[in-house]
Amino acid sequence: MLVDPHPAHFVRDPPHKGEGKAAPRLTLSGISKSFPGVRALHDVSLSLYPGQVTALIGENGAGKSTLVKIMTGIYQPDAGTISIDGQAVTLPSAHAAFGHGITAIHQETVLFDDLTVAENILLGHAPRSRFGTIDWRTMRKNAREVLNTMGAGHIDADARLKDLGIANKHLVAVARAMSIDAQIVIMDEPTAALSLKEIEELFLLVEFLKSEGKAILFISHKFDEIYRIADRYTVFRDGEMVGEGLIRDAGQSQIVRMMVGRAVDHIFPQRKAEIGAPVLAVSGLSHPTEFDDIGFELHRGEILGFYGLVGAGRSEVMQAISGITRTSSGTITLEGKAIVPKSAADSIDAGIVYVPEERGKQGVVIGLPIFQNISLPSLKRTSKSGVLRLAEEFALARSYTERLDLRASSLSQDVGTLSGGNQQKIVIAKWLATTPKVIILDEPTKGIDIGSKAAVHGFMAELVAQGLSVIMVSSELPEILGMSDRVVVMREGRIASVYDNKRLDAETLVKTAAGIAA
């Protein structure tokens, strides 16, 4: 496969026998898009074929989501053309994109909590009665039909979305995409918030869509998924297209090299297990509705993995330990002293930090520049009796962002202009900078590209080597197995089991988490 330093003269592989015969359903060519100070896309091209899944691969900030937003009419390209079935089209709004049969499941869940499932599915293209008013009956009927064809008939079309579980919410997002008679379906990291079972269901759906002859664009950082579902691939690097072809012709290392510009072998860091005395002890921690009787110990120099299905209550437990949620009973002991954190500030002072999972909502402060985001939890250190010292803030920000290989034009850039993965790096940098005793990482590598993932893992290994203790909540089995010393499995708000990671296998974990273990 060709890696061309001048993508403008990029030559496409000759189409393979059989597969290339069908004309592309959608063709993007010469698309460019800039934001103030950032060139997000430069002269990229992409084709989607009916009945095929094309994987779009690239590092964080490579421009994948930007392309999706252009294809769905949310952003307007600065240059380039879009054609569907050979016809050039313009997509001035999301509505226009629907009109051309383009639908997307976006990277951020974009649904309406206070509306019903039916409304969420059909908003914007609701059936009308003769008088032009909304026909509520037909609307519910259509919604139910869509859910049924997807095998999600168990979801009540009249329920309010906020009363649904996260997995069902995701199904509604998919149903919304399906309810439009779309020929082109885009999925931007659809599996990031799902656990194995839902991912399987999603893949079944993708197979179904393929069989219906739809053209699918699939974005993911997980190679196992890409190899499982995709037919073709396109690789972006720094806003340019650097390669494309049939997935079965390309090996993972080859694609990674295209995408990063160098080889990355993601091997989990080797660690000398020097586990010391208990640092953190939690016992009998309970919450009226979220979790019950949580108890475990964390040792010095240990990485304790927390595994479970999405919604098992892991995040809630961690937030309780770090003072964000109230508990009804239980004790937390740090280095032999009982602590009662009443807020995140208390727990940070005590030496426990929580790196949250919801990056946009809980992690970054969009509107503040990068360096101010990073120094926010460490303001006590970067200021002197309440007076800020900018030089220290920059120094702190620099040392952490460089190690995490942040892609940004300056440290004074608003974090809101960074790509999802780069924002995640800010989130991690920001809490690491507080130099805690115990660090709780909730889904630390969600949405992070392969290169940065290795950096984060390397960082974790370094931390424990320095004598810190780490709790890592993760739904990714390889990460759990590759990084943890011990694994706590949670199910429905309780601890189902605790395993030593010596002879642990994936199957045991999955079964315990789902409650089907012997």
Binding site: I74, A94, G124, H125, T133, T289
Partner: protein, 325 residues
């Protein structure tokens, strides 16, 4: 779509009934049908204004300029009527709607095209529209004497024993009910309030919808401009000064969330009614007028506290045990 989500409106209705009951204890005639009918009539203008404000608040915006719009439009129709008494009143009402629409559209345009927060835009037009009233009138008042009998008489005429003003309010309520529950626009308004980003992705033109809601609130204010002037038979620069806060208070008491996306036509109407009863009843039951302000202030605070209780989200229930209990 459920008409009474979470039954907030039912609680408010109950509160109103209790309030009327309490007042009747001190002043027996208060709950009489004739008096209640008059109460509705007295509150009609506030109801219409609250409904106009409601659609704006639902989209996470706010219209502080409604009272000034009302004042300006009222002055325009009053001056027209004074200068040309021959213009038929229905035409004047259409003019009032149009003038209100234009002023609302100016707000909407600034919010839509320049993306200025609505509170800033309408804080500006709040003073501009009232100032413009001064400019067009030269500060002079239009008095009862200069208004034609039809101008004053229309809203007072009774139809089926109910004044036309009340009928207008009933019609407006019905229109808003249709708008909010039966049209795509109504759904878009809710959707924008619930999640603006998701609305963009769902193909709703958020900017244009906001433009439309400001046009609607402008028209409501314009209509009330005529109604107000013909009711209080004086048009001056001071008409409805500071009334914007009463309108918002009515919405708040009616359970319309200032954060957008939550609220209903019934709520706005009942909220207005509640405020109307308080301002009507205090003089009647001989509470010193000096208490009125403190009482309505407390009512507003109480209403928000209660609404917030009702809205408080219940945590997701993970534990099976808790679910069963």
């Amino acid at each position: 779509m459920k008409v009474f989500p979470r039954y907030r409106e039912v609680w408010l209705l109950a509160a109103i009934v209790v309030l009327i009951g309490l007042i009747s204890m001190r002043f027996p005639g208060f709950a009489a049908f004739g008096n209640l009918r008059q109460l509705f009539n007295d509150t009609s203008i506030l109801m219409i204004l609250a409904l106009g404000q409601m659609v704006v608040i639902l989209t996470r915006s706010i219209d502080l300029s409604m009272a000034s719009n009302l004042c300006f439009t009222g002055m325009v129709v009053a001056m027209l009527n004074a200068a040309h008494p021959a213009i038929p009143i229905p035409l004047l009402i259409v003019i009032a709607l149009l003038v209100g629409l234009v002023l609302g559209a100016i707000n909407g345009f600034l919010v839509w095209r320049l993306n200025i927060p609505s509170i800033v835009v309408t804080l500006g037009t709040l003073t501009i529209y009232r100032g413009a009233t001064f400019v067009i009138s030269g500060g002079a008042w239009v008095n009862a004497d200069q208004m034609s009998p039809d101008f004053i008489g229309l809203q007072r005429a009774a139809f089926l024993g109910i004044p036309v003003l009340s009928w207008i309010a009933i019609l407006v309520i019905a229109l808003f009910f249709l708008l909010m529950t039966r049209t795509a626009l109504g759904r878009s308004i809710y959707a924008i309030g619930v999640n603006p980003t998701a609305s963009v992705y769902a193909g709703i033109d958020v900017g244009r919808t906001k433009f439309i809601v400001f046009c609607i609130s402008g028209m409501a204010a314009g209509l009330c401009g005529y109604l107000w002037i013909s009711r209080y038979v004086i048009a001056s620069v001071e008409v409805a000064n500071g009334y914007e806060l009463n309108i918002i208070a009515a919405c708040v008491i009616g359970g319309i969330s200032i954060a957008g996306g939550i609220g209903s036509v019934g709520g706005a109407v009942l909220g207005a009614l509640f405020l109307g009863i308080i301002s009507n009843a205090l003089p009647v039951i001989n509470i010193s007028p000096f208490w009125q302000m403190a009482i309505s202030g407390s009512a507003i605070i109480l209403a928000v506290v209660l609404n917030a209780r009702g809205e408080r989200r219940q945590g997701r229930i993970i534990l099976k045990k808790a679910e069963a209990a």
